[in-house]
Amino acid sequence: MSMPKKLALLVLLLPLVAFEALAAKVSPSSLTMVPGQKSTVAVSSVSGSLTLTNSNAQVASAVLSGNKIQVTANAVGSANLSVKDKKGTVTVKVTVKPAMTVSPTSLTLAVNQKATLTISNPSGTIRVSNSDTSKVATSLSGSTITVTGKAAGTATLTIKDSLTTRKVPVQVTSSSGGPITGTTEGRLLASNCFQCHGTYGSGGFEKLLGETEAEIYEELVEYQEDPDFSTDIMAAHVQGYTDAQLRAIAKYLAKP
């Protein structure tokens, strides 16, 4: 091939290449988001000043800042963000999908008990990770995770799709029903006293604030041993607690 022919080809191609280079470039050129998520689109190869037009601000809000578009997803739907410069217009398509949810958001189960977590609105592949496989076993099938308690303790399951991460705390209890043996946190347990003895035992029927752990525990036991519990509401009430619970209550109320 002779030189003039090569040149002629170049001359022919140049306008095309030059035209392609004229419009601004956006990266990424489309976005898939969930409500509440924020993202940034970079604009490059800009000629002159940029203007931004948003076809649906209810779905996504977009703010142009320098050569960046900050996008916030507001509601499910789609919006086109059109970026115009001196040489042309380029469009970023924003698709807002419902966020993946996992129900329930926490689990408590006994050893060998099974429970299921249901995933709604997943995007792409679902991945499940388990912080402690000695406590909990998991298996994913479609959009359902079966969780089995293996040993008493806690684990956190992390469920991810392409857009959202959800954490589900799991508590495995040693008890599987029957008599109450589980330990309970003193504060919540002792708050059962507050309706009649005031917040933190500050008074109503007998004031409990200021009593020692031993005093409170001994009184509770005295009531619990009262055979004639239908003549005194406190004697009746205390029948429903285990000894471990009474000790936890006394310990908490002595130092709320």
């Binding site: 958001t105 926490s106 589980g182 919540l188 309706q195 917040t199 004639d228 005194d232």
Partner: protein, 450 residues
Amino acid sequence: MNRRQFLEALSLSSLGFMALPSLVRADEEDIASALFPVPTYTGISGTIVIVGGGMAGVTLAKYLRLWGGTGVKVTLIEKAPSYTSNIMSNKVLTGQMTLADLNYVYDTLKNHYGVQVVSGTVTGIDSGDQTVALAGGASYGYDRLVLAPGLEFDLLDGMEDAKEYDTDIPHAWQAGLQTQLLRDQLLELKSGARSGDVVITIPKAPYRCPPGPYERACVVADWQYQNNLSSQVIVLDANADILVERDNFTAAFNGAHGYTVDYRPGCKDLKIVDVMSRTVSYVDVDNKKQNVTAGVLNPIPPQRAPQWLADAKLYNPDAEERSVPVNVLSYESTRVPLVHVIGDASLTTQPKAGHIGNQQAKTCADAILRLLQNQPLDPAPVTNSACYTPITATTATWLSAVYQYDAKTGTMFIPSQHNGGGAISTSEPSTDNYKDMQVWFKTLMADTFT
């Protein structure tokens, strides 16, 4: 408590064990209304929106701040400017209390606990967006939403408009203007401006405050007796028997109020035949249709969680559900994540009443604070129900039950160590119980509103 458990309790107590010395009780004046400070940032942060300013909603708002500290932002949405207590509202009927005595405001919640109290009506929730919308266009975002909306009242068969409850046949099952109307109608019986019997109808359980209708029959009967009225209180109960404190109410209906109360269990197909003449019909236990015309008609309607909760898919009326299934470790809906329901609108094995609504709220507060920190829930929460019931103007009974969590069934149950798994009630009404009732009420309201 069932009959067998009651008899066991009786035989146990009649063996002659020495009773405990009578215990020191506080006088009403001693009830502390101590205010405890909201701790500064505890490391927990979150935005919680509560809908409903009754017993459960207010307790939750208070305890989220008291236990969670200033990092937990709490907004409470309520349409009324203040709360009127349902508890003790039967005493308005007898003139022993006024509605003003039962009025509780949200000032301490706002000014001391730093809860944002918003006056408004919810129009819907968006569980994907995690927002709740109010009439007028405002919208609040949440990390966790807790609904404590109470109950809505069905129209009874034969009725055309719920306004008939406001103008002619008050149910007065939510304290307020209908309570005053019922009081005024009773006064007309006394003045002779109207005549006839008082008819109280009781819906099939579950309904709000299980002993409440029987209590109302007792105190109205006592008021009629005290005022030398010859009219009766006819109780048309859709249930097959008295639901709670059976022995105490049976004794009252046959003894103290034996001439005044006409208790009819197992009444089916209740219908309001005519609102103006206060005529109802029902099918009795022998399957015979009966008509009763009342001087004062007080129909207590069936109750269910408000319709907008069904619209939000929290419960399904098409599947015969009337309240919201929840996980009782957290009161989170089993259907809609991040939305919790406490108090009367939740579906649990526990009674629908203010005292236990207060404790459900504390369980929910503890659960939400743990969830905000990605911690597991308390695996064994305990709740309790207690109530005092006036039988006359000077005597009262009480009922107590403690609920533990059964991990196998995921429900709350009364454990066997508590009277064989049943509630416990006092062996007889007394004036001491009546005094204790005032202490209980004031302390419960202080734990909720102060």
